[in-house]
Symmetry: C2
Subunit: 363 residues, 2 copies
């Protein structure tokens, strides 16, 4: 059933008691920075990829069968002028999302991608394998369509409903009822909905997820990087660091879905050589609304346990919980929150202190 956006948004506006423009945010809502952005370079490239042979049917039955590339990871990057010598930062998005997470916020403010560049860091923003511009392996879908594979061989495509996002991303306990102090720009929550793409990570990409190695290889290609993951990819920096420890200059786990307890003492010893920062926002004990998913408080506590393990091995793992500093209201989408630059500054400060002082601060 298709509703018009105007109707739905008008309903939401009524619920919120605010004047949400049903016509949706647009370019007109995007703010322009006060000063120009000066880039030494920008562009995009791919990391990894496997060549596979597929039949005409698997390719959609237009042209003849042959080879294609799958499991490659798309990366967009910006390198600031004058940032030579500063550590690069890789920003990896979470479930049902793409690299768009780190770009212009739903209400049109500068994204963390540009902000970190303006602070002197080269920034690399991938789309996870299986999503966005990285694509996915379509063969099984065409095989099921043709009747040559059973329907139950299909992986599922995951998306979160707009209503489910409110408690799970901790904007409020239910849709249209924001927490009084929420930092998420809830009047633009429809724009977050547009960032959603179907996610085939759970069954539709190889095991281990090719993004892990691609992330490790990317870190190596840029001569070392701070690896930042979010939510479903929150623990990916840990996994990639174990694959290529020398290239992992620092690990930032933003609202990670998990801090795994499974690591061996040897793995913990490896991770203990790398500065690690875990970031969690507010309202963590809100029920997620999804029976199989624990509260974010439970994940926060698992990360505290992980931090203690790393500390016991002599490492420098730390928790950044803004509420502990009197900063209230941050959501799961903390990089899009209204105070997102305040949070970014805390992470940049941690990079300066624990990883590498920025060269433009040295001058």
């Amino acid at each position: 059933m298709i509703h018009s956006r105007i109707l739905f948004s008008a309903t939401l506006a009524f619920v919120l008691g605010t004047a949400v423009d049903g016509r949706a945010q647009s370019l007109n809502d995007v703010k322009t920075a006060d000063t120009p952005l000066v880039l030494k370079a920008q562009g995009s490239f791919f990391v990894g990829g496997d060549t596979v042979e597929q039949t005409q049917g698997e390719l959609g039955d237009l042209g003849p069968g042959g080879h294609i590339t799958v499991n490659q990871m798309y990366v967009r990057y910006m390198v600031p002028q004058g940032g030579d010598g500063n550590v690069s930062v890789v920003m990896l998005h979470g479930a049902t999302l793409t690299g768009k997470s780190w770009e212009t916020t739903p209400d049109g403010r500068m994204g963390w991608d540009e902000y970190f560049v303006r602070k002197g860091h080269a920034v690399y923003v991938p789309d996870q394998v299986g999503r966005g511009r990285s694509g996915f392996n379509q063969a099984v879908f065409n095989n099921v369509r043709a009747g040559s594979a059973p329907a139950n061989s299909l992986p599922r495509w995951l998306r979160f409903s707009d209503e489910g996002v409110w408690p799970n991303f901790r904007f409020g306990t239910k849709a249209g009822a924001p927490f009084p102090e929420t930092q998420f720009p809830v009047s633009a929550v429809d724009e977050l909905s547009k960032q959603g793409v179907p996610d085939v990570s759970f069954g539709g990409v190889p095991t281990p997820n090719p993004t892990l190695k691609a992330l490790a290889d990317l870190a190596g290609q840029v001569n070392g990087a701070v690896l930042m993951g979010h939510s479903q990819s929150g623990s990916f920096p840990l996994e990639s660091a174990l694959l290529n420890p020398a290239a992992a200059k620092g690990l930032v786990l933003v609202e990670p879905g998990s801090c795994p307890a499974r690591y061996t003492p040897e793995q913990i010893a490896t991770l203990a050589k790398i500065p690690i920062l875990v970031v969690f926002g507010d309202y963590r004990d809100t029920p997620t609304g999804i029976g199989t998913l624990p509260t974010w408080q439970a994940r926060f506590e698992a990360c505290q346990t992980f931090i203690k393990r790393v500390a016991s091995a002599g490492g420098q793992a730390e928790m950044l919980a803004p509420p502990d500093r009197g900063i209230r209201g941050n959501s799961h989408m903390i990089m899009q929150d209204k105070n997102h630059l305040q949070i970014a500054d805390l992470i940049l400060q941690w990079i300066d202190t624990r990883v590498a002082k920025r060269s433009n601060d040295k001058k």
Copy 2:
């Protein structure tokens, strides 16, 4: 069957007689420009989108059912410092591809996106609805998986094989056998393969394709734009211009899949008020290797017929065929060819002449 990339590329290198690095191109192959890129603004946003209600199963069976947004169009943009008053340019990609088409070339050279920005134009690069960061509607796939819809209700996902691309995109008559004068960087053809994503345009997006209206709306939001389409989207600028003629300042059809003959005299009269440029490369009579697809020469000729219709209505439609100017070897992926900036300059010159003189040329 999965081959290692090294094995496949080594085979290709043997066929080509060139030293293709099997490890694939990477960031190390990306060239950095001689001068910095100074941007007034950059970022991303969405155009359009419909709110739909879906069941828990349609959403992948993790969280509860509810609303999501589909049919939105992702747009990334860069606005040059000092380009105020210049006409904006929208670059829309072709089948089985994303906006990546216009970014860094397969062999690491600057993309048309950045080049046009450096020439003073704001550039907007969308992903078509159904692909890349625009996402697609996953409901039917999950319904088939659950057995609540028949397998033959699935739309097909299209990808072109690497072997099929060679004749269809006119790099050579068959894979590994480039035309002697080809302008496509065939040593990096594996990187083009990575740009491929599954394409559900033919059956998996609503009719008419929501990208057409989104493109028209985008042109309006930026106060008018030159609309550029490529291949499968080559005729989209015409369609969007008919939806919003006032916002279509110029139409550039790059190697269009078709120049439709179906337009009414009234529609031709509308299009005749807008400068139109059609661009076709070399080797157009190469058999496409796909029985159902005509040669590009046949499409070229249909576009010449279209141009004549527009001219008869008093319009300014023109053909830009580099071979007619002694420029040989251009492929279907002309924006990635080795002489891509030479072609870009011809288009920029056309914009200056027919659409609007650039302000930085006026100074």
